[in-house]
Symmetry: C2
Subunit: 78 residues, 2 copies
Amino acid sequence: MEFHQLKTFITVARTGNVTKAASELNITPPSGSGHIKLLEEEFGVILFTRTSRGMRITSHGELLKSKANDILTASNPV
Amino acid sequence: MEFHQLKTFITVARTGNVTKAASELNITPPSGSGHIKLLEEEFGVILFTRTSRGMRITSHGELLKSKANDILTASNPV
DNA sequence: CACTGTTACGAACTCCGTAATTATG
DNA sequence: CATAATTACGGAGTTCGTAACAGTG
């Protein structure tokens, strides 16, 4: 679990769209897709269900979203 | 700022010793020293004063210690 | 066929560990 | 001279982006 993976995850969760999230973060869709995949492999859960329209967050994803927000909030500059 | 850098930082802060911290973390002293150095460069502050006996944390270091604890606590598994 | 995510893969970059160096009591 | 940190540097591993592929309304 790395900070940039969590940032990608949060952005995908908000936009429901890997392509748009990648664009916001100035990375490419394959890179963003890889971030999500690595998180899913690390935790052994599916974070999003893939549809032809985009990404729908799962209940496991919601749990991580809460945790990720806590972490990123704590890491904000003073 | 990366998780493993924060873990190294916290361990050095606790032990006052890069060599001992590195040993606990199963890394080498140059690696641990590099983690501290990168954090200092990223934030533009000195986190420890170097003595021939080891590392003494500075006031800036104390601030990061508090923040690092919050982040690592938030990142603990559920 | 337009738009989505993913896979393949090569290049660039990063990070680690070994070895050598510096500093101090 | 023992102990601690740091620097130098080469190799290993990671991560990125481009290009190609696959699925769906």
